[in-house]
Amino acid sequence: MEENILICEDSLEGVLTAVYTAYEKRYSPEKTGIQVSEEGNLRLFAVYEYVETDTEKSAKVLRTLRRRFGEEGCYTICQALASAEEEKATAVYRTIAKGLRLQKPESVLLRYADADVQTVQKLKCSVWHEMHHLFGFLRFRELQNGILFSEISPKNNVTAYLAEHFSDRLPREHFVICDCGRGLFAVHEAGKRWFLVQNPDFDREAVRESDEEAVCQELFRHFCHKISVEARENKTLQRGMLPLRFRPYMTEFDGK
């Protein structure tokens, strides 16, 4: 009854390398777990193993996922891995293993009665929702050098998805999205592909807003104030739709 537990880096590449390793060593999925962090209770009768992230291996796994699970299935799996929950790695690994045994692996994602699939779908859903929230709630500020700068602090690691969305939307703008909690920066230069930088040399104090910025912010605040119908005021509903955790970074809630 010995279990194998693989410990890997908390990133898409890290987990996928661990999946590769588990397959390489022919571990049985039922008795294998993947853990993305060191913390937690050590378990008796379990063998712990560290997995070094290897982009080549993870790229191989990703290619297989794309080929066997299809574009949509692969997207679901990757998005579940962007979650901040620790249960993600094992659930994703077992879902992949169960899927690859089938003729049509992507159909495993429809088995809502399976506990691992349930977890994957639940995580994917919450990541998708946060991503979609931030498509709207993210705010850019124009800096003196014309760059659009944005700070967010999401629960899940959605910065890459945001960068993809905004580079499609604003192809001719320079912009930077900063995930304050993770120290992760998405950088987009006008007309080029975006990329991610982890913990760059960044001086928060050097951020200077352009002159026009304050005017524009004031206009938007005024607009948000005016567009509300007094007779229907409902702050509870507002809080339900726009949770408080997003507000520190949003222009219209400054100083409220």
């Binding site: 709207g136 905004f166 206009l219 938007f220 567009i227 509870t236 507002q238």
Partner: protein
């Protein structure tokens, strides 16, 4: 012209006046069209729509919702901008609107523009100004984001046609559900004038779809469809009438959305009803719920309401209400009930019904699974079985279920004891029918 002489007013003042004047328009959706970026111009659109903020009334702010001008030659009794009201008036120039839209869009404040207008000069003149603004925004400012624009009733069809080629969504407000209501409250508007641009847009969309099948790159006409809105509670129409109107709009005019707007009394006018408890928000909510049932759940207006029962139950949502009146169709077994029937179970939505259908191909579903799938069991448990079993031993009786649904916080369904300590309430028995009659009825059923 008068409105041009007001250039001294600052942009902020204008924005204040013109968004204040536009706020009673409900539609703020940016949905219905997927349009990726082209790598050059600013903007794209997502079919799901994106909410960018929520105002203090809990409504979403998705689009920059403004009027071009709040000058109006009409005198509609319910409207803040009517001719006879003494309110500050302002007007944007098309360039100002474009600048504002672009600078807001760049900062991700908004998803696009919602442009409406009071009638300035004549419907044609107003429509032309709207068209010019859109033309400028699309061609000079190269804006590819979402645009929702009003079609002005009575404007030249050619202007509407041309505007439609630049906009994503167009709407003509029906304002009041019946022609009589319109006559009393909006003397300058006529139902015919409202319905004809609606029909024109519908025909335009159909013709455009035919064009697109032949020429893939043909310019698209109102690709996100058209919508409309009705004011609820300003005139004495019943829910049944309103819902029937909405249904025929969906069926005959192929509208994407009908919006309902609880009447807010902004003008003191003898024709307008006094609202003691504020705007009829709950009624509006029930209408929206029913609207969803029409569009996604395969219900028809006649199933939900009738001449005899013209208004919705305030205490229960329309779906529960329907299910309680049709208990003979329940319980359904989630393992083999077809999709259409699953959709009719209270507590099961479009998404969970789909998931049930997908998941049961490979597994026997349990109540635990249903919970994970997203079924709201506290409502659904009375109406469904899993592998022939109910979740708790509940009775399939109208009064019993109603009582439990209403008091779900105080009384759990598995609480079998009949004794409660709660105060007697007027709503305990919703039917107010003599108990004798009911006993007889159940006795008849048994024999």
């Amino acid at each position: 012209m008068e409105y041009l002489s007001r250039e001294t007013m600052s942009i902020k003042e204008k924005l204040g006046i013109l968004s204040d004047a536009a706020k009673y328009d409900v539609a703020c959706t940016s949905s219905g069209i997927d349009r990726g970026g082209n790598g050059r111009d600013m903007g794209n659109a997502l079919a799901s729509g994106i909410c960018h903020s929520f105002s203090a009334d809990g409504r979403c702010i998705s689009l920059l919702k403004i009027l071009l001008t709040n000058e109006c030659i009409f005198d509609c009794k319910y409207c803040l901008n009517r001719r006879s009201n003494d309110v500050p008036r302002a007007a944007f120039t098309p360039e100002e609107i474009c600048e504002l839209t672009i600078s807001f869009y760049r900062r991700n404040y908004i998803e696009g523009l919602f442009l409406s207008s009071g009638i300035i000069g004549s419907p044609d003149m107003t429509m032309e100004l709207l068209y010019r603004t859109l033309y400028l925004l699309r061609t000079q400012y190269h804006f590819r984001g979402y645009i929702h624009v009003k079609a002005i009733p009575g404007a030249d069809p050619l202007l509407i046609q041309r505007t439609g080629l630049l906009a994503d969504r167009m709407s003509v407000n029906l304002e009041l559900p019946t022609a009589e209501g319109l006559r009393t409250l909006a003397p300058n508007k006529h139902r015919k004038n409202i319905l004809s641009p609606m029909r024109q847009i519908q025909n335009g969309i159909t013709a455009n779809q035919n064009e697109l099948t032949v020429y893939r790159h043909a310019p698209r006409f109102v690709p996100a469809g058209q919508s409309t809105q009705m004011i609820i509670g300003a005139t004495p129409e019943s829910d049944y009438q309103i819902l029937s109107v909405a249904e025929s709009l969906y069926r005959k005019f192929e509208l994407k959305r009908v919006f309902y707007s609880a009447f807010v009394r902004v003008n003191d006018d003898k024709e307008l009803p006094a609202l003691i408890g504020g705007p009829p928000l709950l009624r509006e909510h029930r209408l929206y719920q029913a609207d969803w049932l029409l569009r996604y759940y395969g219900f028809s207006a006649d199933e939900l309401l009738s001449e005899k029962k013209p208004n919705f139950n305030i205490l229960l949502d329309p779906k529960c209400d329907w299910a309680l009146a049709h208990l003979e169709q329940f319980p359904v077994d989630v393992q083999n009930a077809d999709y259409q029937l699953l959709l009719r179970v209270p507590g099961i939505g479009v998404k969970s019904a789909l998931r049930i259908v997908q998941a049961r191909r490979t597994a026997r579903l349990t109540f635990e699974d249903l919970k994970k799938i997203g079924v709201v069991l506290k409502r659904a448990l009375y109406f469904i079985t899993c592998s022939g079993r109910q979740m708790y031993p509940v009775r399939l009786e109208e009064d019993y279920i109603t009582r439990n649904l209403l008091y779900e916080k105080q009384r759990l369904p598995f609480d079998k004891g009949q004794i409660t300590y709660k105060q007697l309430s007027l709503f305990d028995d919703l039917h107010f029918s003599p108990p004798q009659e009911k006993e007889e009825a159940s006795w008849k059923k048994i024999s």
